[in-house]
Subunit: 162 residues, 2 copies
């Protein structure tokens, strides 16, 4: 089981954008440069995040991407569902209805117990991801990252943000 690898850069992008002053934006090329990923690769994921109303595009000479709402109202789950989709990891093909034991469809009134276990596991996974916001992650970065890196980051942002 594998999340789309765009999820990693998507969350990093949101944490970086959470440091911008109100109304400021970063162009896609700068976001790619900051994260050391190819611009074309990142563009696809930025568009998915904008489509899911996690990011907003800002038009014009000072345009780019910013968060669509306050960072404490965006959860890790929002980013995951924007990029990786909201479907359960388990695809039930109703195996119980196949083979020599198959019964008429009307006999299957309950969800298959196997399907049910995976639905529950999916729910606890999503609930865990929904507990952490972009603000929480940013607080962690500010606490854990070496001061020299923070200063380097602040200078880079001053040169790059619009």
């Amino acid at each position: 089981m594998r999340l789309s690898d765009g999820v990693e850069s998507g969350v990093h992008v949101c944490v970086l954008l959470a440091t911008l002053p109100n109304g400021a934006a970063l162009p896609a090329a700068k976001l790619a440069e900051y994260h050391g990923v190819p611009a074309a690769y990142l563009a696809k994921h930025l568009q998915a995040l904008a489509g899911a109303d996690v990011l907003r595009t800002v038009k014009g000479a000072r345009g780019g991407y910013r968060l669509a709402r306050p960072a404490d109202e965006i959860t890790v789950l929002d980013v995951v569902e924007a990029i990786d989709g909201g479907e359960s990891a388990f695809r039930c093909s109703e195996i119980r209805r196949r083979g020599p034991l198959a019964m008429p469809a009307r006999e299957y009134t309950k969800v298959c117990g196997i399907h049910h276990v995976f639905t529950r596991a999916d729910e606890v996974w999503r609930a865990e991801l929904a507990r952490t916001t972009i603000t929480d992650l940013l607080m962690g970065v500010l606490r854990d990252v070496p001061r020299a890196a923070l200063e380097k980051g602040a200078r880079w942002l001053q040169d790059s943000a619009r």
Copy 2:
């Protein structure tokens, strides 16, 4: 995010094998027939389950597959990890170490906070799947499946089990 679709048939196979009397086995071809899946497709997953000590192969004319241990000692997680692997759904490529802010490796003493959130979510997902055993699933089937299907199943097993 998508589990290997072999997981579904793998769990169904274990539930069916849990109904066999002690020491009995079902050949791979019968397991495929019962579940309405192609034999070659199922064979790969049966081998993975045997390799992970969830199933055991029984040699000889009355051979086939049986559970490697009592059904209440096999969890859904055991089947998932046998077929889909035990790796986290999130692959951290250490994005924080790239781009213009990269610091010397010695500066990164803690796990990236983003990585940490996904590790926790992965743990609750696995814990949830570890709470349900093959016996639990079998009890659910016996409770929920129409009596006519159970009788059909019992006849099929008597003709098929070795």
